[in-house]
């Protein structure tokens, strides 16, 4: 918040002061506050100013209270001790009925704590700016190819260079690349440390300057270092520098050995730097090693080879709409100039980087925030009920005070003050609850929720808590305050307590109806998410994850230079792995399922797709013959690869069902030709030899792309993953390590873990929102039950005498009990009905979060309401039983 905004907030707060005082002093108070702000000195300027605002607003609230309670009086002695009067009175009142105070404060703490926790997650993930300089001006470039074609955050090198020369509203564009075809990895060797596989990302020299990231040691890359086959220089991540090089500050300027080549270290990135990217980002990752992107300007790749992740920085003052309009112009020019873009109907989108990164998390978090607000509404209803109950008991006291000359306004103010005191206590406790839940949530670490480490209690969260406190205090305090102020003195004083029974009862019942209905909505939503999660867990992803062990191997170029070296190593490894007891089958693939987007493989199956090359793409993977058997994936038709499917034989592919259906809808795919390279290229066509079951390798809930498999034997990469099928009794992790070490003691084996864990990680975001929703749902249920119990108990207590009379007149205890339950059901049933209607209208907003469950799922809509009726009825049973045990003599004597 800047200075002027703080002043604006303060000016709003001044409205609390009584008008005559405000009119007299407003100008000076405002100037005083602004001087206080202006006098603040660095560091922590913003924080200090915010604290000044908070204290000044508290000061205004305080003064406003004092001035209203006790207008200025000449006798200064009489002012003594009156400052705390209202609040002290409220506190005294609360200590006199501790049960009420504890119930109200705890209820408020739960509701406010839950809402603040959810808000802090929303704040950390969605609202806090990215940790780059002026992050609001950063955009990520997406390229769309025609109708029904691909949309990817990836740009060709030639287009990227054209953006830089054509755009006028952008300060600059910077690019990062995934490097080779199969991820960007390298092997670090040298020194006394063991060889280590690291991620390597080539970036343009302006990449870090564009983000506003400065190396803590050394320098940025220079323009000269972008020259093709230019200097071999690298920057290191802070983590790698600390871990492998012990934070040696003399490392800059020296060389390290990467993939057997010496590279000069020119800089070290700051700690905590992370490359934040949308999930779709192509190959580029948050690497340990960065090197300059050295583009061969003399021989640019075709414009449909989209290998770069491109960020743009807008000039100051440029809106996203203007930036988009400019990219539209550039796209028009590209279509007009290059036939390949005309054919592909290219479109370019400049997406605000922050929106792009958090878009996946947004729907679930927004839903949770709405749910938290509903819980807060239930809390308000509950506390309002408690206050109303208390107010009707205190009706006599209030009536006496009115008779003694207290104005109705004073009574209302006193009740409202009580509300504020309760809300303030609840907020403080609720914040403690928030701190604890944040610690718990970050301990859960849902892998795919971006930026969870950002979730802390900052000034936005505190502001939210304060606002929630004030709003709840007003909401739950208002009804009793108005009700109290309406007290009719005569009737109450004449009639004793009994008159109070009818009054407020309707309001209390209304609140209960709302509470039960809202909690039903929450419970139905939670129920739908549970059902969705269960069906997500039951998804057959196209492979059998249980009993499957996986790991990755990266062979250093230096020691495995020979063409067949990687293949030979894999074959000996396979033999050794198969010798381990319990291992039934071993296969290999270039990239494991559920480990990132991976390389794409364009294909074409008719004239249109051939002309618009790259308009349809599949996941391209290289596998060994045993891969499908090991994974438990069904071969639908044809055959799997054999050892003969190598580079010396005609090129063959295996495709999945979805591509078979799309490309060869009119018959058997096996034996047909699939175009796998641009028209005119040698080897543009490959023969389909097999069709397999589709695998969900990106998202368990969704078929993202089809898959095209090539034989590893045609080109065995030094980077590959191994899958080991075991009989499921135990994962032979140690034996696998031993087998690898026996072959080559330096063999970098990484990511040795069961496939089940990868699947669980993929379920983590769903589990996370489910957990929070379940928490909110149970809280709502708990609060609603307490509400029902409280209201029925109170009504039974008020009707003790009536029950006594009825029993004296011969009514059986069972009948009384039944009558109480029937009375409760008269409230519960309409609430359930209302809740079902509201839930039916609102669950369609859940649609995007549900998998395999209809938003109006009949089972959920039957079981949850029935369950709620049962537990709500049970909640009334205790008071009902109390009614049936009333002793007529005692009840009648009470009067």
């Amino acid at each position: 918040m800047n200075e002027s905004r703080l002043s604006r907030v303060y000016r709003l707060a001044l409205a609390m002061l009584p008008r005559p005082f405000r009119e007299r002093h407003r100008a000076e108070i405002e100037r005083h506050f602004e001087t206080l702000l202006a006098d603040t000195t660095a560091p922590y300027l913003a924080g200090k100013r915010f604290l000044i605002l908070i204290r000044a607003v508290i000061d205004v609230m305080w003064t406003a209270t004092i001035l209203r309670v006790q207008p200025p009086q000449p006798e200064h002695a009489r002012m003594k001790g009156s400052l705390y009067r209202d609040i002290a009175y409220a506190l005294r009142g609360l200590t006199r009925s501790p049960a009420f105070a504890i119930a109200a404060v705890m209820t408020l703490a739960l509701g406010l704590g839950a809402a603040t926790t959810i808000f802090s997650v929303v704040n950390g993930v969605l609202m806090r700016p990215l940790p780059y300089s002026s992050p609001g001006r950063l955009v990520n470039i997406w390229v769309d190819f025609g109708v029904g074609g691909q949309s990817l955050p990836a740009v060709s090198t030639a287009d990227f260079l054209d953006y830089k020369t054509q755009a006028t509203l952008f300060q600059d564009f910077a690019a990062a690349s995934g490097g080779g075809t199969i991820g960007a990895t390298g092997i670090l060797t040298g020194g006394s440390e063991a060889p280590e596989k690291v991620d390597v990302s080539p970036v343009t020299s302006n990449f870090f300057p564009l983000l506003g990231v400065k190396p803590i040691l050394g320098r940025q890359f220079t323009k000269e270092e972008e020259a093709f086959r230019g200097p071999r220089v690298v920057m290191l991540s802070h983590e790698l520098w600390q871990r492998r090089y012990g934070g040696d500050s003399t490392l800059v300027g020296r060389t390290i050995e990467l993939d057997g080549l010496s590279q000069q270290v020119v800089g070290v990135l700051p700690p905590g730097f992370h490359l934040l990217l949308p999930a779709e980002a192509f190959l580029v990752k948050d690497s340990q090693i960065w090197k300059p992107l050295q583009i061969n300007l003399a021989q640019l790749q075709p414009r449909n080879y989209t290998g770069l992740t491109v960020f743009g920085r807008l000039k100051p003052g440029v809106t996203y709409a203007q930036a988009q309009a400019e990219m539209d112009r550039i796209a028009t020019w590209l279509r007009a100039t290059f036939p390949v873009h005309a054919a592909g109907q290219i479109r370019i989108r400049a997406v605000p980087l922050q929106d792009d990164i958090v878009k996946g998390a947004r729907p679930a978090l927004e839903l949770l925030l709405v749910a938290a607000v509903l819980v807060l509404a239930i809390v308000c209803a509950n506390v309002a009920n408690l206050l109303l109950t208390r107010a009707s008991v205190r009706e006599r006291e209030l009536a006496v005070r009115i008779a003694m000359g207290a104005s109705r306004f004073q009574i209302a103010r006193q009740l409202l003050t009580e509300g504020f005191v309760l809300a303030a206590l609840g907020t403080v406790l609720g914040l403690a609850f928030t701190y604890a839940s944040i610690a718990y949530l970050s301990h859960l670490q849902p892998a795919n929720l971006p930026r969870l480490s950002n979730v802390t209690v900052d000034w936005r969260v505190l502001g939210f808590a304060a606002a929630a406190c004030v709003v709840t205090a007003l909401v739950f305090g208002l009804a009793p305050a108005l009700h109290g102020a309406r007290s009719s003195t005569g009737a109450v004083l004449r009639g004793g307590v009994r008159v109070a029974v009818g009054r407020g009862a309707r309001l209390r019942q209304g609140l209960i109806v709302g509470e039960i209905a809202l909690s039903l909505v929450l419970l139905v939503s939670a129920g739908l998410l549970v059902r969705s999660f269960v069906s997500l867990q039951d998804v057959r992803p196209g492979f059998e994850p249980n009993g499957l062990l996986t790991f990755r191997v990266s062979l250093p170029f230096g020691n495995y230079r020979a063409p067949d070296a990687a293949k030979n190593l894999y074959e000996s490894l396979r033999v050794r792995l198969l010798a381990i007891p319990g291992v039934t089958s071993v296969g290999s693939i270039s990239q494991l399922p559920l480990t990132g987007s991976g390389p794409l493989s364009p294909y074409a199956y008719n004239e249109v797709t051939a002309r618009n090359w790259e308009s349809v793409t599949a996941d391209g993977r290289f596998i060994t013959p045993d891969y499908f058997t090991t994974m438990g994936t069904k071969l639908v038709a044809g055959r799997t690869f054999t050892a003969d499917d190598d580079a010396k034989h005609p090129s063959v592919v295996i495709i999945d069902e979805s591509i078979a259906k799309q490309a060869f809808s009119n018959g058997d795919a096996v034996g047909r030709q699939l175009q796998v390279g641009p028209t005119g290229d040698a080897g543009a066509f490959a023969t389909v030899v097999g069709v397999v079951q589709h695998m969900r390798i990106h998202d368990l809930g969704d078929d993202v792309r089809g898959q095209i498999y090539n034989s590893s034997y045609a080109a065995f990469s030094r980077n590959f993953a191994v899958v080991v099928r075991t009989d499921g009794r135990a994962y032979p992790i140690a034996a696998v390590r031993k087998a690898a070490a026996e072959l080559d003691s330096n063999l970098p084996v990484s990511g040795l873990r069961p496939m089940r864990e990868l699947v669980d990680d993929a379920l983590a975001p769903a589990r996370f929102s489910l957990l929070l929703m379940e928490g909110l749902g149970s809280l709502a249920l708990f609060l609603a039950l307490i509400g029902v119990y409280g209201v029925i108990s109170f009504s039974v207590a008020q009707r003790t005498r009536e029950f006594g009379v009825r029993m004296a007149l011969g009514q059986a205890p069972v009948e009384l009990r039944r009558a109480v339950v029937a009375q409760a059901l008269k409230v519960i049933l309409p609430s359930i009905g209302l809740g079902i209607v509201v839930a039916a209208l609102s669950t369609r907003f859940l649609d995007g979060l549900l998998y395999g469950v209809h938003p109006l799922d009949p089972a959920t809509f039957t079981i949850v309401p029935l369950g709620l009726i049962v537990v709500a009825t049970l909640a009334c049973d205790a008071p009902a039983r109390r009614a049936s045990r009333v002793d007529p003599l005692v009840a009648l004597r009470e009067e």
Binding site: E28, D59, T63, A64, P72, P74, E75
Partner: protein
């Protein structure tokens, strides 16, 4: 008003601030901060509330016309001056504090045992 009654803390320090010069609100706040070594910060609403109360009690007055403002000072600010009554109240309070302090000191001193 009996001189034996304690002055409120805010009142006391504002009166002390005005005892050597006419001051405007922000200046008073700064002086009180200085007097109390930063212990008492009069935030704006409290400050002007206190000034109203002091004026209501007749202990201070607001300078009405611009001529009365100290030379070279901004006219837009409202200046306050301590009244005779205010000085008397402050003097009484100082006396009271001295009495209290003396009484307390007496108790602390070794002679206390003999006096008993």
């Amino acid at each position: 008003m009996s001189p034996s009654l304690a002055l409120k803390r805010n009142w006391f320090h504002v009166l002390v601030a005005l005892s050597d010069a006419d001051r405007h609100g922000f200046d008073i706040m700064r002086d009180v901060l200085e007097q109390t070594d930063g212990a008492l910060h009069l935030w704006p609403a409290t400050l002007y509330g206190t000034l109203d109360q002091l004026a209501g009690a007749g202990f201070i007055s607001e300078l009405a016309s611009p001529e009365e403002h100290p030379a070279g000072q901004s006219e837009k600010r409202r200046y306050y001056r301590i009244t005779t009554q205010g000085r008397a109240a402050l003097a009484a309070e100082i006396r009271r504090l001295e009495e209290t302090a003396r009484a307390a000191k007496l108790r602390l001193s070794p002679r206390r045992a003999e006096l008993r």
